[in-house]
């Protein structure tokens, strides 16, 4: 088990995907992958929410921000937030006409949008209203929607992040509610199919669909901590959030 334990230990610090070098710089800019250490972020959250600069990790973090709630509801709200972001992103791609009307790519982005919308509404229906975070506001204006490659790459990284977020959060679900893990499992493989499909558009006939940047030498896909996920996706979330309960849940399971 020793070998296994060492290979499944999450990497420390923010992880920047080893994407093809030509695009790497663009990615860093487009996705706001900051160098803020996840550990420092976590510590800061525990010390005092009020002392955190509102722009840390790209997300607007505030003690008064939207809380994810307690226990399994924190995990469900986390997933709900990510599905909201994905829906908003795909809708923006379609509305801003990145791809020609009727093109194969446009159809694919419409299909994926509809899946993310179904996921979003599923969580909305599944989480009781008094436990559910509201509808978040997003700002995706940093993305150049006229740039086909930037849009495809942003979609790819969002899907990669979604899969790694589910992979990281799944084990946090309590065993009393194992059904939530099954439901999350039903969704995460659809997100992985999205990631694969988008990668095939980016690199037809290549190995990007399950690239070495996202799958390690043991054939395992990445898993990301809450802090790592927020450091990638947070810059698009306009609504101030307070992830303290989620971070506390995560650290209690370590």
């Amino acid at each position: 088990m020793e070998e296994l334990t060492s290979t499944s230990t999450p990497k420390k610090g923010p992880s920047v995907p080893a994407i093809p070098s030509v695009e790497r710089r663009m990615f860093l800019r487009a996705l706001g992958l900051t160098t803020v250490s996840a550990a420092a972020f976590l510590t800061a959250c525990q010390n005092s929410m009020n002392e955190i600069a509102p722009t840390i990790s790209g997300a607007r973090i505030s003690a008064d921000g939207v809380s994810f709630g307690e226990g399994d509801f924190a995990i469900l709200n986390y997933a709900y937030a990510l599905e909201q972001l994905e829906t908003a992103f795909y809708m923006a791609v379609v509305e801003k006409k990145t791809f020609a009307a009727g093109s194969k790519e446009e159809m694919i982005f419409k299909d994926i949008h509809d899946h993310e919308l179904v996921h979003r509404e599923f969580f909305k229906a599944a989480i009781p209203a008094d436990k559910r975070i509201g509808e978040l506001e997003f700002d995706v204006s940093s993305i150049d929607f006229t740039n086909r490659r930037e849009v495809l790459n942003t979609a790819r990284v969002l899907e990669d992040t979604g899969v790694a977020a589910y992979n990281g959060a799944g084990p946090l679900i309590s065993k009393a509610n194992a059904i939530y893990l099954t439901l999350a499992g039903k969704i995460v493989s659809v997100e992985a199919r999205h990631a694969s499909l988008i990668s095939s558009l980016l690199q037809p006939g290549g190995g990007l669909f399950a690239g070495d940047y996202v799958i390690d030498n043991n054939g395992l896909e990445k898993m990301l901590t809450v802090s790592e996920v927020l450091s990638r996706a947070g810059k698009y979330i306009k609504t101030a959030i307070n992830p303290a309960s989620l971070l506390a849940l995560e650290s209690s399971k370590k």
Partner: protein, 277 residues
Amino acid sequence: MNLFGIFSQIEKADPEIGQKMDFSRRKMLKTTSVAAAATPMFFAAMVNKAFAADGCAGDAIAIVKYALTLEYLERDFYRAGQFKAGLVPSSARPYVVQIAKHEAQHVDLLEGVLGIKPNAMQPKYNMDVLAAATANFPTFLTYAQALEDTGVRAYKGQAACLLEEDTATSRTVLAVALRIHSVEARHAAAVRYMRDLRVWPSGGQNGMEPDPKIYAGEDQASQGGANLVDLFNMMENKSKLYSPDMAARSVYESFDEPLTAQQVLAIAGPFFASTPA
């Protein structure tokens, strides 16, 4: 629980099983599902003895053995394909090489979890079936899709088992299983993309598959007690879809469904030799 024991027990329980499972190559291609259907009662009987009613393959170690069996099959299927001269066209080679690499890594990793020597638990295959599955490239892709989509469903079906077991071992295995699960889904989508199919299994849009059991129960209207097809047939929700006329399909495609260990073994059974050599 030893998964391989199942197959040898099958043989003991029914001496004619070898003949029943020894399909001719032509028959296999044409009627795999029919051929597999020749043994379902038998599989059901064995499987019911061996597995819990909740579809779990057993405890965490049993689940690793179960997963390892499927990974061996995937690895050896892709190896057979890769090394068959002229089978994989150069345009598809990067896809096949990448997938085959991961399956071999999964075998190594799971063997490591069990602390066994390389190939110590490698099953014996029905070589006629493997030959049929690699007969030509379209058939190879058909079987690749079948194995990948089944693999996704198989891992998904064991996740809750591992969470509920709640031991140090099960927690370690769960983290690994989830991270293999999403890799299999990436593979499945890539193979389906190569076949020019929609990359989500539902609505029967799975091309010509070798066995209808692979996609049994994929189209679910309800999730967690919420009827999502009804939800998206309400105008306020339907109008938010870009393909409102395909609301049901979008719901089905948005969720991949699990399979129990019993269901997976019924699908994978024909690939294995009935008599350990």
